[in-house]
């Protein structure tokens, strides 16, 4: 009979402040693969768990530049190469008229890149996730705060990690089955 594999150990906290202190303590203790769950964004939390590489801004910038270039080139191709039309004697390459569509395409591609980039980097959609196995976790979207140490962490040990988390005075501790 195979033993059930463990995804990690999770501790539940009552307040955002407790979670932040606990997350910093866990990170300082040398745990690297940890995560914190809260019902609203807490600015300091990402730093506390050691997360720095936020690439959403870069993706958005690249998307916006792509959109702007595509928008302008499309108009150039249409108005100059494929379908030149004489409108009131204006030059075919009448760039001031092309600025607005270029601008709108920049915004459109930038916005879509920001959203798709955020969702993709977050690995969503993912309707099932092991943390949902913990019954208390249902309150993570309401008024409770959770800290998890993943079993993949090199320092992870079911007993020692549990003892370490218990010292942080959580409301409850649960082992997360995967």
């Amino acid at each position: 009979m195979p033993t059930p594999t463990i995804y990690g150990t999770m501790a539940e906290f009552k307040s955002a402040q407790q979670l932040l202190v606990a997350a910093q303590a866990t990170h300082d203790a040398g745990y690297q693969k940890i995560d914190a769950y809260s019902p609203f964004p807490i600015e300091e939390m990402a730093e506390a768990i050691g997360f720095h590489k936020n690439r959403v801004a870069l993706i958005t910038l690249l998307g916006a530049i792509t959109g702007g270039c595509l928008g302008y080139l499309m108009q150039y191709y249409i108005a100059v190469i494929s379908y030149p039309t004489n409108v009131g004697g204006r030059p075919y390459h009448s760039w001031p008229s092309f600025i607005i569509v270029t601008f709108e395409m920049t915004i459109l591609f930038g916005a879509i890149s920001a959203v798709v980039g955020m969702i993709a980097l977050n690995g969503l959609p993912m309707p099932y996730h092991p943390v949902f196995n913990v019954p208390e976790f249902v309150r993570a979207s309401k008024d409770r705060f959770f800290l998890i140490v993943f079993a993949t962490d090199p320092k992870y040990d079911p007993q020692a990690t549990r003892q370490f988390l218990e010292a942080l005075q959580p409301e409850s501790i649960a082992e997360v089955p995967s």
Binding site: Y37, S82, E104, S141
Partner: protein, 459 residues
């Protein structure tokens, strides 16, 4: 006197959220409106009336598709009648939603958190209503896709020097970005509803919509970055949309349209009417759903102040238009001014001045700004006034252009009215569904406003 000052100081500091709330009460209060509150007869009645109006619109559009735009009151010279008046009116209303959700976010106005969700919903529905009109006014609406640049066997492409094609891009981008912004804001709240629903289907539907949101710190960090960037992108976008709409007029040479003041004055007018619509929705909603704790007098006051400020920008626009007509020395502009003041539609021009400049001055009084009933009525007057503004701009200019032999009159028909009232029904139908099935106040952003959400890092 001292008593009065003290009292007003208290009113001035009306909180963004009433004290005594915790994460749990905020969550319960907002999610219970969707999950456990029974569907009342009032809701069913309101929905039924709005839905009937929507059906009336579809009927009018069906007849339009069968017979063509000749059933409307338009003619030559007045080729742009109700369709464009209503398009500009609706798209202007949408602007307040983006202003609240994006610009006020960048300006760190935390009071926006309680009204941004339904203001964004209002934007989406208003832009959808606006989209009906250019869609059906083309004469052959089944060929509307010709407006988009796509390779085709006719070897034909759109003409990018025309403001009308700029409008296609501006409005469709605006709708898409507003939808993304709204949906992104809803994801964490879908997670909350998924966890709190008891009905299996509700759990599944909200679970799918939440995409498995679990509130991880990494996710929140990327989420906040994406939300901020969207706000940064939406801010110039919202200013551009009504600017481009105003180009539809300003690039033309018709008297009264060909002016450089149009872009700023259109954008201010859009925000003016948009906040009026926000208040007309917020005042009954907070009363019916007992949401006075979250939509406080502070929100009413601030919205009223925005209306007062943008109302004066609009008034400045009217003044400059009249001044240019009188001082500019162009006989056609002077003729237009004369027609506005003394022509066949002069009554509506005076009504416009009364609705948009006269009556809103009551907002200088704090009593008016905090009295929900008066505020509701003033907002209604502003919405009527802003509709009249577009009517005056479009119809008066077109009825009297350059040559007296081409002068004409415009009378809307019953089909014009049925389509217009029908879009109001469509807007309200969508609003009724929205308040019933989605959290109308952003739950996670309200949690952020609570004092217990504040943390202090040790680094």
């Amino acid at each position: 006197m001292a008593d009065h000052l003290k009292q007003s100081a208290v009113v001035e500091r009306a909180p963004v959220i009433e004290p005594g709330h915790s994460f749990a009460t905020v969550t319960d209060k907002i999610s219970s409106i969707v999950l456990t509150r029974p569907t009342t007869n009032g809701w069913i009645f309101g929905f039924a009336v709005s839905f009937l109006a929507t059906m009336m619109m579809l009927f009018a559009l069906g007849v339009l598709f069968l017979k063509g735009v000749g059933i409307w009151g338009i003619n030559i010279p007045i080729g742009w009648g109700f369709a464009i008046v209503n398009f500009v009116w609706w798209i202007g209303i949408g602007h307040a939603g983006t202003l609240i959700s994006a610009i006020l976010l960048l300006l760190r106005q935390s009071w926006r958190n309680s009204i941004n969700r339904f203001a964004e919903a209002m934007t989406l529905f208003a832009v959808a209503c606006a989209g009906v009109f250019p869609g059906v006014h083309t004469g052959r609406p089944w060929l509307d896709y010709w407006m988009f640049p796509y390779p085709n066997t006719m070897n034909y492409w759109p003409q990018f020097r025309s403001p009308l094609i700029w409008d296609v891009f501006a409005v469709s981008t605006y709708f898409t970005v507003s939808l993304l912004f709204w949906f992104i804001g809803l994801i964490p709240d879908f997670g909350t509803l998924r966890d709190r629903a008891h009905n299996k289907y509700a759990q599944m539907i909200y679970g799918l919509l939440s995409m498995g949101w679990r509130g991880s710190a990494r996710h929140w960090a990327r989420y906040e970055m994406a939300y901020l960037l969207l706000a940064g992108l939406a801010t110039p976008l919202v200013l551009s949309v009504h600017t481009v709409v105003s180009f539809d007029f300003a690039v033309g040479i018709v008297p009264g349209w060909h002016t450089t003041i149009f872009p700023p004055y259109f954008v201010a007018g859009a925000i003016y009417s948009g906040f009026a619509m926000v208040l007309m929705l917020a005042i009954p909603i907070r009363k019916i759903y007992n949401l006075e704790d979250f939509i406080t007098d502070r929100h009413l006051q601030n919205s009223a102040k925005v209306m007062l400020a943008t109302g004066w920008i609009v008034a400045y626009g009217y003044a400059i238009e009249a001044f240019t007509g009188w001082y500019g020395g162009n006989r056609y502009d002077a003729g237009l001014l004369y027609n506005r003041l003394h022509g066949p539609y002069a009554f509506w021009y005076y009504m416009l001045l009364l609705c948009n400049i006269g009556i809103p001055q009551l907002l200088w009084f704090r009593k008016m700004r905090t009295h929900p009933v008066f505020l509701f009525l003033i907002s209604f007057v502003i919405l009527v006034g802003m509709w009249l503004e577009r009517f005056v701009i479009i119809v008066i200019s077109l009825t009297r252009d350059f040559v007296p032999s081409s002068f004409g009159m415009y009378y809307p028909t019953k089909w014009d009215w049925m389509t217009y009232i029908g879009t109001i029904g469509m807007f309200l139908t969508a609003m009724f569904l929205f308040v019933r099935i989605l959290p109308m106040i952003s739950i996670f952003e309200i949690r952020q406003l609570l004092p217990e959400a504040k943390v202090e890092g040790k680094h």
